[in-house]
């Protein structure tokens, strides 16, 4: 087969979902730009393998031949370029392409932000994707099956709804798989925040990815203009479509663009995707919201995170519009859309980069906020004219989420620089420290006291990842991120000797595992820059965590609340009762 040296290629995908249409009423599609690679039938690339097996019908559908994507002359082909709506809806091979391209695009987005390869959260290199996995209104990431499963179901007028055709649903599930690779312990039973984080973060990435597509933002603005009866296309200067400034405040963008798109999105899919977008507008900010029983439920709690992020997005977008050229009281719609995409895209990068600055275990929302701020400060000292960090700080604060670290006067909320003066740095090997877990472990061992690692615990380096980040000024930041985890297995009866409170009613022989650890970030000279530490013997945190797990039923085998993503997603679509007046 002829080779091509192209680095990227374009494949047609559905921009959001088949319910979001162009002005002409056709399904809004976009060419997704993704890294080019040698594809086998599936499509089957080096990180993603589409296997179109349907468990409900017990059928394996045939993929397109490899020749469909690469001709004999070595040219990359998009077999569904200008595909008809009928093909988009009814051709399973287009669906296979749609999931392949969207998953690959999300993976590439993570790798670009983090400046390195990102592994999946399971052994192996290739994530299986079943675009028509079963007849059911559900879609989920299944780590044991090393796969993403997308269901299909019947909607109104007997139309079949394919979850694999929804950009946000596919991106959401892919994010679970990626997050699981970056922080494997975030699926551990821990705190309500950690239980909610996977969902909330996956929603944030999915929604910001949707708004980072210009075609979709333009569409959302059109809807908003139509809703407001503005007849946007009539208001023009030369060939520039305009939109009135008063339709572009933070609040009106929330009302029109976010809710507008939420309405436009395939309604029947809300049984699958939940209503995170709608709720990010409707959820009233309250500093005590996370203390209410309702928002202890993981999927509800995750919505708070989404609301804080999406409201920051609107704030930044509105700020960015201030610098645009005005035509009387109007702005150019295309420019408005561009600014929206730029804001979404930048925020998305911030959020993804933050993952490297999160602790390896027991994440809480405040840790996440500090991680986001730190990740950004590291590549960009100044918050700039658009105030991304200030917006995040204020929107998170409105929901009662404060950064875990106080930060400095200039940089509020960022992690403190490591104060550990390593006495034994001389024994470290700089090169190996960038990739070798044993070398990092040697460093930890030598400095275990200064790093406040418990001597009694089992300690393991989970990962060592060198990464390269490019700041807006073009300069390159090189770092090495290592996750170190500690674990102690005790019985509940022994907790008191560690100063950890045993939940009332927990019997003394109950086996209990305590986790802790640090994310160590080394600078380009191999010096320790940050140690984001979760002390395994933090009495307060461990007591609270055990109490939460005990109350949630973790210790009696009813681990439903901690089951993998399938269960979580089903819970998102059916109301879960919050027991009160109970015994």
């Amino acid at each position: 087969m002829a080779q091509t040296t192209a680095r990227t290629r374009r494949l047609t995908v559905v921009a959001q979902d088949p319910a979001v249409c162009t002005e002409q009423g056709r399904i809004l599609c976009v060419p997704a730009e993704i890294p080019a690679e040698a594809l086998d039938p599936g499509p089957w690339g080096h990180r993603v393998q589409v296997i179109d097996f349907d468990a409900t019908t017990n059928q394996l559908l045939a993929p397109l031949d490899a020749g469909a994507y690469l001709d004999r002359a070595g040219n990359l082909i998009d077999p569904f370029d200008k595909a008809s709506d009928r093909t988009i809806l009814t051709d399973p091979q287009f669906h296979a392409q749609n999931v392949y391209a969207t998953v690959t695009q999300t993976l590439a987005r993570f790798e670009r932000s983090l400046g390195r390869r990102v592994n999946w959260g399971f052994p192996g290199h290739q994530l299986r994707v079943a675009p028509h996995a079963f007849a059911d209104a559900n879609a989920f990431y299944a780590p044991n099956e090393r796969a993403l499963f997308f269901g299909y179901f019947t909607g109104q007028h007997n139309r079949t709804i394919f979850t694999c055709l929804s950009h946000d649903v596919v991106t959401h599930e892919t994010t679970h798989a990626l997050l699981d690779g970056i922080r494997t312990r975030f699926t551990d039973p821990s705190s309500p925040d950690q239980a909610a984080f996977h969902e909330g973060f996956a929603d944030c990435v999915a929604l910001l990815s949707v708004f980072a597509q210009r075609e979709v933002v333009e569409k959302a603005l059109q809807i908003s203009a139509r809703e407001k009866n503005l007849r946007m296309t009539k208001v023009q200067r030369g060939d520039q479509p305009l939109i009135p400034v008063d339709a572009l405040t933070r609040d009106s963008l929330a009302e029109s663009v976010l809710l507008g798109l939420a309405d436009e999105m395939g309604r029947e899919l809300s049984a699958v995707r939940g209503s995170a977008l709608r709720r990010s507008v409707e959820l009233e900010a309250s500093k005590t919201i996370l203390d209410t029983p309702e928002f202890t439920e993981p999927h509800r709690r995750g919505e708070v995170l989404v609301a804080a992020v999406m409201q920051s997005f609107l704030e930044v977008w509105a700020t960015r519009l201030d610098s645009l050229r005005r035509y009387g009281s109007f702005l150019n719609v295309n420019r408005v859309a561009e600014e929206g995409c730029a804001a979404a895209d930048y925020l998305l990068t911030m959020l993804i980069r933050s993952l490297d600055y999160t602790p390896p275990v027991h994440l809480q929302f405040g840790d996440f906020l500090s991680a986001v701020l730190t990740a950004d400060v590291e590549v960009r000292d100044d918050d700039g004219p658009y105030q991304y960090r200030a917006s995040l700080l204020s929107r998170f604060a409105a929901f009662g989420i404060r950064p875990a670290s106080p930060g400095t006067t200039q940089q509020p909320g960022v992690w403190a620089r490591s104060s550990v003066v390593e006495t034994t740095n001389e024994r470290s090997h700089f090169d190996a420290l960038q990739h070798d877990p044993d070398e990092v472990f040697a460093f930890v061992w030598e400095n275990r006291e200064a790093l406040k690692f418990s001597k009694d615990a089992y300690t393991r380096v989970l990962s060592v990842r060198p990464c390269v980040r490019v700041g807006p000024d073009g300069f390159v930041l090189r770092e090495t991120v290592a996750e170190v985890m500690q674990r102690i297995d005790v019985t509940a009866g022994e907790l008191a000797s560690l100063g950890v409170k045993r939940p009332r009613g927990m019997t003394a022989p109950t086996p209990v595992t305590l986790n802790g650890g640090s994310t160590l970030i080394f600078d380009e000279y191999g010096r320790l820059k940050f140690e984001i530490h979760n002390d395994i013997l933090d009495k307060k945190r461990q007591s609270a965590r055990l109490q939460y797990l005990f109350d949630s039923g973790y210790f009696d085998g009813d681990t439903a609340a901690f089951r993998p993503f399938a269960e979580m997603h089903r819970r998102r679509s059916v109301s879960a009762a919050v027991p009160h007046q109970g015994w």
Partner: protein
């Protein structure tokens, strides 16, 4: 609310037969009159697990005992809700000698069930052309759930038949067991629907007439639950915290089941039309599974089996809140039978002051949901004025039909019966649990006498 049979002579007493059904409920109420014959009402008859000491034909023995006591005629049958532990005894068999056949032979004059079981309402509500509103929405949702479970069970059977290896067999078997027998209860449902003449079925809701007043002279019977959709929405609107959220959840809930049900119909159609070819009847199917897919396919099937099981379990939990809650009043005696109602079902009642005042005077309480932690609302319990740490003639009497060790765990505070609740019942009421029957060796039932 209450339907009173004017002028009828009130009963002078009642014998409550609490049967040993292990984990389940079965109560026969025999009302005694001075000058008239006894009247018999059977409230629930089901079990999901008998104690090891019980004979295999326990359910038949119970049915025969009921037949003997009521002298061949039952005045009424009440099914609190469609769960196996409340209705398995109504199952019939091919030889027509199952416990359900015996009860059927007692020709009940009235059958009372929750409004959500009304077969007529279901038919109307599933008409796709009519926009379902109010109660119909809930019925549509429940009907959707039923269809969904049928579908799930059918799919599990197909999956099992394709021989997917032992990886998913256990999950598939659980789907069939829990879905088919635990929720669908086809034979028992059919038996109850046709047990009495068409006009002798009552499908009741909060505030509706039960029809029991007609068969129990001198007894005032009030239906406190389940609420209709409209009623529970009204309650939800009055909640201080964000009413919109409940609407959204309600909406999502409905969407979920609707999608499941539409799937069921779609699959039935596509199976009939094209031999289960799914959404792409014309697509090219790979007959020989290529080696690269051989690791994956059994795992995909297993994931699906677990998915099906999850759906069955969600529905199972929802069913408790369709329980009929009955309050029977004779003079100053007030007898409360709440089925398995949990807090969502109770909510409407808890907000009505006059009702709560009447409930304060309850003299007998059938402990809700086998003594689980969510079925005896604290405010209801706190309101009971006949609770007393001291023994006295007017002390509240309570009975729980239960079997410890089947559900939940003490470590998590979810054990059924809940220890803290049982302690309170023991300390402050004249308490009886059907578990005491097992302790005495095998005993069919406990009888408790009431005089009015």
């Amino acid at each position: 609310m209450a339907k009173k049979t004017a002028g009828a002579a009130a009963p002078t007493g009642m014998t409550l037969h609490a049967y040993q059904v292990g984990f389940g409920d079965c109560f026969l109420l025999a009302f005694h009159y001075k000058t008239a014959r006894d009247r018999h009402v059977l409230i629930d008859f089901g079990s999901t697990g008998l104690p090891p000491t019980a004979p295999k034909n326990q359910m038949t023995l119970i049915a025969q005992d009921i037949a003997a006591i009521c002298g061949g005629t039952l005045d009424a049958v009440v099914l609190s809700h469609r769960h196996r532990d409340h209705m398995s005894g109504f199952e019939t068999n091919a030889k027509h000698n199952g416990p359900g056949d015996i009860i059927r032979g007692l020709n009940p004059k009235l059958v009372v069930q929750p409004w959500t079981e009304d077969p007529k309402a279901k038919k109307d509500a599933t008409e796709p052309t009519k926009a379902p509103k109010g109660d119909a929405v809930r019925i549509a949702s429940l009907e959707a759930q039923r269809l969904a479970i049928q579908n799930v069970v059918a799919e599990a059977q197909i999956l099992a038949a394709t021989g997917t290896g032992d990886r998913d067999q256990r999950a598939l078997q659980s789907v069939v067991d829990e879905g088919m027998e635990g929720i669908l209860n086809a034979s028992a449902v059919k038996n109850l629907q046709s047990m009495a003449p068409a006009d002798k079925h009552r499908y009741v809701f909060h505030g509706s007439a039960s029809g029991l007043g007609g068969v129990l002279p001198g007894v005032t019977v009030s239906v406190l639950g389940p609420p209709t959709l409209k009623q529970s929405s009204a309650i939800r609107k009055e909640r201080p915290s964000d009413p919109a959220e409940f609407w959204m959840l309600e909406d999502l809930d409905r969407l979920f089941w609707k999608a499941q049900a539409m799937n069921a119909r779609f699959l039935t159609r596509s199976t009939k039309a094209n031999g289960n070819k799914g959404p792409f009847p014309k697509a090219r199917v790979m007959r020989n599974v290529p080696s690269y897919a051989r690791w994956f396919i059994p795992r995909a099937r297993a994931a699906r089996a677990n998915e099906l099981l999850g759906i069955v379990r969600i529905l199972d939990k929802e069913m408790n809140n369709t329980s009929v809650i009955l309050l029977l009043e004779v003079g100053s005696a007030r007898l409360l039978f709440p089925g398995d109602a949990q807090i969502e079902n109770w909510e409407l009642t808890l907000q009505e002051k006059t009702l709560m005042n009447r409930l304060a005077g309850v003299t007998f309480y059938k402990v809700g949901h086998h003594g689980s932690r969510n079925a005896t609302p604290r405010s209801l319990w706190n309101g009971f004025t006949n609770r007393s740490k001291q023994k006295r003639p007017t002390r509240l009497r309570t009975v729980v039909s239960t079997m410890a060790g089947k559900f939940g765990a003490a470590a998590r505070h979810t054990e059924v019966p809940r220890t803290t609740l049982v302690t309170a019942l023991k300390d402050e009421t004249d308490f009886f649990t059907t578990q005491q029957l097992t302790q005495k060796g095998h005993t069919l039932k406990q009888t408790i006498e009431f005089t009015f």
